[in-house]
Amino acid sequence: MVEPVLDELVGAGCRFVVVGSAARRLLGEQVPVNDLDVVVDAVGSNRGPVVEALMAVGGVIERRRGRRLLRSSMALPWEWGWRTSTVYGDVDVVVRFIDGSGYEFHDAVAVPVLLGNGVVVRCHPTKHP
């Protein structure tokens, strides 16, 4: 159930690329999708829309003192990214992978995919090493 989350991200005007198994599935490969991995542009103007979109799908974030509802005022680890649980499943918000690649790299090699609801998202079908 990644479409509702992607719908929110697109609707909020976020700059992101779908990667990993969800991207492979959207491109037609028959792989199980356990969560949604999105590489986001971490510039200041994109952070608010990303958080707002994930709040709209009931985003919850793991903290040291338990799980908290995602809030726009929350200090988040934008250097690398974080995991959010939504009502549609887990979303890994990735700013930078440990190989150093981020939004610009993945966006440059991504391809557009038209979803059933008419929304277009950019996908890069990466695999974990």
Binding site: E62, R63, R64, M74, A75, P77, E79, W82, R83, I98
Partner: protein, 309 residues
């Protein structure tokens, strides 16, 4: 404890596993690989060892970090990313710690400086540069115990929080209660809370303030209704990795600033007491650390360079 470094056994085992996995200084390996190696060597599983591994790289936990890290290794509020997504390697000091444990170089007093309060122990952390200066002074010749204690100074937590302590009593090795508190500063028309005490966090501070306001203040304030809860317009957590912990409190008006500062200073995440003890005189520990003279200056310089937060 490692005799040559004062590090705990788990810390030494993690460093050894990192080295065995190929994570020498400057050569990152997946944290998952290090945890698997540690599990094979010691039986200590990844679920237990991952947080201690991350702690060895966290400059807000240790004055002297022993691992370098790539990826999200957590924050005072947030957990680290899965070990599949992070990499680590020995820091220069981490490599020196292993060399010291193997007897290849003289002792490196990392445990003396990092303390054990971060794992709920009672040994408080000390300022690395001041400890190095004291060891240098002890190695250099006649210096009184009193002077060594003066050079080392009071405990120094990696978050930079303020510390109030009876230094004479602490340095004797006795049980002492010290007060650790955040810095509260006035910035234009608001208050900024930074340099939090150990085990506190920006979110904890923020939540405590919200609870204080919503619950009508603490019990002693409720008994004096004229005081009431602090009158605040808002609280913002402006913490970033670069700026460090920073919680901004906006009083309702300029007249409320003083009362708000007093009320905030009563909150547990802002100020509290912790029990500490060295168990032996501080001057004796410094003299012990200065006893092995071969390569001492190089070891002290490495400690000073590693103190960075």
């Amino acid at each position: 404890m490692g005799a040559a470094t004062g590090l705990g056994q788990l810390d030494v085992a993690i460093l050894e596993a990192c080295e065995e996995s190929g994570g020498m200084f400057g050569s990152f390996v997946k944290s998952r690989t290090v945890l698997e190696t540690l599990h094979e060597r010691t039986g200590i599983g990844p679920r237990v060892a991952y947080e201690p591994l991350c702690d060895l790289a966290r400059p807000w936990v240790l004055n002297l970090t022993l691992l370098e890290f790539q990826g999200n290794f957590g924050s005072p509020d947030g957990p680290p990313a899965s070990p599949r997504y992070t990499e680590c390697c020995l820091s220069q000091l981490g490599g020196a710690a292993l060399a010291a444990e193997r007897g290849e170089i003289g002792p490196v007093p990392i445990g003396l400086i990092n303390g054990t309060t971060h794992v709920d122990g009672r040994w408080p952390p000390l300022d690395p540069s001041r400890v190095a200066a004291a060891i240098r002074a002890a190695a250099g010749g006649e210096v009184s115990d009193h002077e060594l204690v003066r050079i080392v100074g009071q405990p120094s937590f990696p978050t930079g929080c303020d510390v109030d302590v009876d230094l004479a009593l602490l340095s004797s090795g006795a049980d002492v209660e010290i007060e650790v508190s955040a810095r509260i500063e006035f910035e234009r028309d608001h208050l900024v809370i930074s340099r939090l005490p150990p085990a506190s966090s920006p979110e904890l501070v923020e939540e405590s303030i919200v609870r204080l306001v919503h619950n009508g203040g603490m019990r002693d304030r409720q008994s004096e209704p004229s005081k009431g809860p602090p009158r605040l317009r808002g609280v913002r957590n402006e913490t970033t990795r670069l700026s460090g912990s920073r919680v901004v409190v906006e009083p309702l008006s300029a007249a409320d600033v003083g009362a708000a500062a007093v009320a905030l200073f009563d909150l547990w995440p802002v100020r509290r007491s912790i029990a500490v003890r060295f168990g032996q005189p501080m001057a004796a520990m410094i003299r012990d650390a200065a006893a092995s003279r071969g390569g001492l200056e190089e070891r002290l310089v490495m400690i000073e360079k590693s103190a960075r937060y």
